[in-house]
Amino acid sequence: MVIAQSHPVASPRDPAAGAGAGAGAGTRLEAVDVSHRFDLHGEPLPVLEHIDLTVEPGEFVALLGPSGCGKSTLLRLVAGLDLPTEGELWVDGRRIEGPDPSRVVVFQDPTLYPWRTVWRNAALGPEAQGILRQQRGRIEDVLRLVGLSTFAKAYPHQLSGGMAQRAALARALVNEPSLLILDEPLGKLDSLTRITMQSELVSLWQRSGFTALLVTHDVEEALYLAQRVVVLSDRPARIKAEIVNERPYPRRRGDPYLTELRHRVLAELGLDATW
């Protein structure tokens, strides 16, 4: 797998081949009847209910749902940061019992360590795994890829919001994840940076072939990026609908097919009155 070429691949992958499928580096993710409850003031708060979800290797799946329904919770379970109250999660036939650097999360906030420079933040994974020495070149490559090489020595507070989010993305990509978990990674960006980052995410994913699980509030973003959009209900979250988007990449934002899908997704979310 090669993510961090100094020169981007000249021509995008053959659109007909189905993006991301080629590299075969992605993992297969399976959630089997997953339910999760929190404890709120002594009362059980059911957040996820009977989630059955399979994500094929190299697939790009987006999760959409109302605020507070449990999307981040599901991602935490997939990352192995929490264990589900009921049900099981599997990657490539192995049960998820804890976090693993092959499943990296890009959190809702950049969560960079303020006491580390951008370079040292990006180096976090290799350093934690004790393989920093072999990976030095790679960190530089990834920083170049996200356009932050000139800011390698800057501290997080010296970055703009978009740059910080790109640094967080670099920190994840350095680990060559086979499953990239994205929790509204672009949520706080301005719309221009956002559009750029979306295109860049797609080409990254196409080049590397990881499996991607993305949470977003933005229906358009979900449809532009993902091959499948999973719509969750209000809390406790169940899977309400799955909408497959067959459009090949690169996609065009003005595509009438995407507009039509958007209508369908909004209808599933109960928001089509404004259509």
């Binding site: 650097p101 959190f107 000139t150």
Partner: protein
């Protein structure tokens, strides 16, 4: 078309240039006139000391030398002020100029109120040249005292800060450590370290070890509490990030919890240093027969008030020097905080 990279669209910074934050406060330094005024006040103080006759009852050995010293100070200030006109690095003198004026005035007023008119009663309020005399004539003993105090303080402070830091991290990190250490801390911590004094001098074999213990105790409590709250207050997503990237708990403690808690640790170190000064002086007065605290006590016993003021002066110098040093250490270790908090 090739894939667009972020760099194409994102506003590219000038190569190699990382924007540095500049302090918005850039007070224009006082003009050279203030510097010359400072020189004038120092010269006036020197003249007062040299030519105004002392009250008849007492006399001091080094009046002349002290006057000369002030005069030398006056000419140095004048020369630097004038040279700063052309030499930019000397401009810093100018920002000190208003204070130098005040210091010159203080010397003059102090001298007149004591040696020249005895408005302030004599043995209790020595003139500046008396302090100067002590500094020169008793410098050997003073130096010994500074070294003795320094050794005692350093030993107690380093032990207290180290143990406090370790205990704080342990409580903040491990539930088990918290279970055992926290109640002890709650119960014993608020007790002023000096309350242990009688017991300590009785239990420990030497007064030095007893004092070291007391200073360590006084330092350790705030360091423990603040390190603990620093570690306990670390944003839990920092740990989530670390864990998903394959960090061991060792890594989480040393590379996440501790660096994140450092700003708090330093607050504890500052409080501990203040406490340790207080305990040091008391311990030296009551137990160890050396050090600046002891010198204070001793000079008071002999009614040698000039010696007492000298010791106070040196003590202030040493304490503020140590605080400044700790600030320097903090500034270099926590430089990442610049721009995050009001520095």
């Amino acid at each position: 078309m090739t894939n667009p990279t972020f760099e194409d669209v994102a506003v590219a910074p000038p190569r190699g240039a990382i924007p540095t934050v500049r302090s918005p406060v850039d007070r224009s330094a006082p003009s050279g006139l203030v510097g010359l005024l400072a020189a004038a006040t120092w010269l006036a103080a020197a003249g007062t000391i040299r030519y105004w006759p002392d009250v008849p009852e007492v006399s001091w050995d080094r009046t002349e030398e002290f006057a000369l010293l002030l005069a030398a100070g006056a000419s140095t200030i004048a020369v630097l002020t004038i040279a700063a006109q052309w030499l930019a690095p000397l401009r810093r003198v100018r920002s000190a100029a208003p204070w130098l004026v005040v210091i010159g005035l203080i010397f003059a007023v102090w001298e007149v109120a004591t040696a020249k008119t005895a408005v302030l009663p004599m043995p209790f309020f020595p003139p500046p040249q008396a302090i100067f005399e002590v500094l020169i004539d008793d410098h050997k003993r003073l130096l010994d005292c500074v070294l003795a105090s320094g050794k005692l303080l350093a030993g107690g402070y380093v032990i207290g800060a180290t143990l406090g830091f370790v205990a704080g991290v342990a409580i903040g990190w491990s539930v088990k450590a918290g279970y055992w250490i926290h109640p002890i801390l709650r119960f014993i911590g608020p007790l002023p370290a000096t309350a242990w004094l009688p017991l300590a001098f009785f239990v420990f074999p030497t007064s030095l070890s007893a004092s070291t213990f007391l200073i360590a105790l006084a330092t350790g409590f705030p360091v423990t509490v603040l390190t603990w709250s620093g570690v306990a207050g670390v944003n839990s997503t920092y740990y989530d990030v670390g864990r998903t990237l394959g960090a061991s708990s060792r890594f989480l403690v040393f590379k996440v919890a501790i660096p994140a808690a450092m700003p708090y640790v330093f607050v504890g170190l500052f409080m501990g240093l203040g406490n340790s000064f207080a305990v040091l002086v008391v311990a030296e007065m009551l137990g160890v027969k050396s050090g600046l605290g002891w010198y204070l006590q001793w000079s008071q016993g002999w009614a040698a008030y000039a010696n007492m003021y000298t010791a106070l002066f040196i003590m202030a110098l040493v304490c503020s020097g140590l605080i400044t040093l700790l600030f320097r250490v903090r500034d270099s270790l926590l430089s990442w905080q610049k721009g995050l908090v009001k520095w």
